[in-house]
């Protein structure tokens, strides 16, 4: 248990990575595992949170923000990512702009097979779209978020960060 507590990915780490990489807007639908992160984002004076009604909207909002010279991040759960398939194709991949997708990896477990199909299809989905991804499980992995930003900037493509925090999930 002590090891589990020590292994959490702190929401503050995510915020630091966003600030370090010049993020201006987080386009998001909250989910049950990101509540505290959501509250923390609202507290940041340099960050504008854009709540959306359906995940597919997020790619469009991000494209518009990018056109305006801003640096958006789309923060959604893997279920919403799959719902967004055609928007990811048409509004992100085809548009060709740097975009980091932070994806809550619902159902992920490090202990073998998951019964949750949301988790089972997450990586095959990303592979089918040719979207590279970085897996982040705890604070020690935090620098991978910057790696994702760097790759998105250099390739002008969407890059995913999969949040596989099965114990803590950005909650208090």
């Amino acid at each position: 248990m002590v090891q589990e507590q020590a292994a959490v990915l702190k929401p503050e780490t995510m915020i630091e990575e966003f600030e370090k990489n010049g993020v201006t807007h987080v386009v998001t639908i909250p989910d049950s595992e990101t509540n505290y992160l959501y509250e923390l984002m609202l507290e940041q004076p340099w960050l504008d949170v854009v709540p959306i009604s359906r995940e597919g909207e997020g790619m469009g909002v991000a494209l518009g923000l990018n056109a305006a010279g801003k640096v958006p991040v789309v923060l959604i759960q893997n279920t919403g990512m799959m719902e967004s398939g055609d928007s990811i194709r048409g509004m992100a991949l085809d548009a060709g702009f740097p975009l980091v997708l932070v994806i809550g990896y619902r159902g992920w477990t490090r202990r073998g097979k998951t019964p949750d199909t949301a988790a089972r299809y997450t990586e095959p989905f990303l592979n089918a779209f040719g979207i590279n991804y970085y897996f982040v499980e705890n604070d020690a992995d935090g620098s991978r978020i910057s790696d994702a930003f760097e790759e998105a900037r250099s390739t002008r493509r969407p890059v995913a960060v999969l949040i596989g925090d099965e114990y803590h999930g950005f909650n208090r």
């Binding site: 386009v27 854009v50 469009g60 494209l63 010279g69 958006p72 928007s87 548009a95 900037r153």
Partner: protein, 199 residues
């Protein structure tokens, strides 16, 4: 009996009051804007999926709060994701003008009606979602008289206009192709125009 409104006439009437507004369009009717616009550098193409232009225009408005952003949307596209009305209303962009050209059908696929085509009150939906101001027109003279005043309102503003459908029945490969700039060309031009650097 109201005069049936042609999309081109809507564009012409709006064009008189555009000023420096950034304009983006979607749907079959939206293609007329390129025949009317006198400031191509502030015309931007954001579409890529049906219904995708609406949130993109919101993103542009949020990122450029000192510029008026005008979207000519279509009802078929809006119905793809009606929740975007709440998304827009929630962020309250004062600089956002959301025109809806409602021809009651999917004109580009042969004119099949959209669901409940004749009974939906889109301006009513926008008002209930929380838009600052909403308007509905089915008469050209009425629209021409009011569009200038509407463009001075605080957003988000929603303007629904009933238009004549321009139904296309030819297979896509046989349709006339209008030369145009790519999406990224229009974005780059707009960024140059506004002095935006994306690094």
């Amino acid at each position: 009996m109201p005069n049936m409104i042609e999309a081109l006439d809507v564009m012409k009437a709006f064009g008189e009051h555009r000023g420096d507004a950034i304009v983006t369009t979607s749907g079959t009717a939206g293609r007329h804007w390129s025949d009317v616009s006198t400031n191509e550098r502030r015309d931007v193409s954001l579409g890529g999926v049906m219904g995708g232009t609406t949130p993109s225009a919101l993103g542009l408005a949020l990122g450029l709060p000192d510029e008026k952003v005008v979207l000519f949307d279509s009802e078929g596209a809006l119905l793809m994701n009606l929740g975007v009305l709440a998304t827009i209303a929630g962020k309250k962009p004062k600089n956002f003008f959301h025109f809806l050209l409602d021809n009651e059908c999917y004109a580009t696929t042969g004119g099949q009606p959209v669901p409940n085509a004749q009974e939906i009150d889109y301006a009513g939906m926008a008002k209930s979602a929380g838009y600052k101001s909403t308007h509905s027109f089915d008469d050209l003279e009425d629209f021409v008289t009011n569009v200038g005043r509407i463009m001075e309102e605080e957003g988000p503003v929603f303007i629904s206009v009933k238009i004549v459908p321009e139904v296309q029945n030819l297979p896509i490969s046989m349709r006339e192709r209008r030369p145009g700039r790519s999406r990224m060309e229009t974005i780059r031009t707009l960024q140059e125009e506004l002095g935006i650097s994306t690094g």
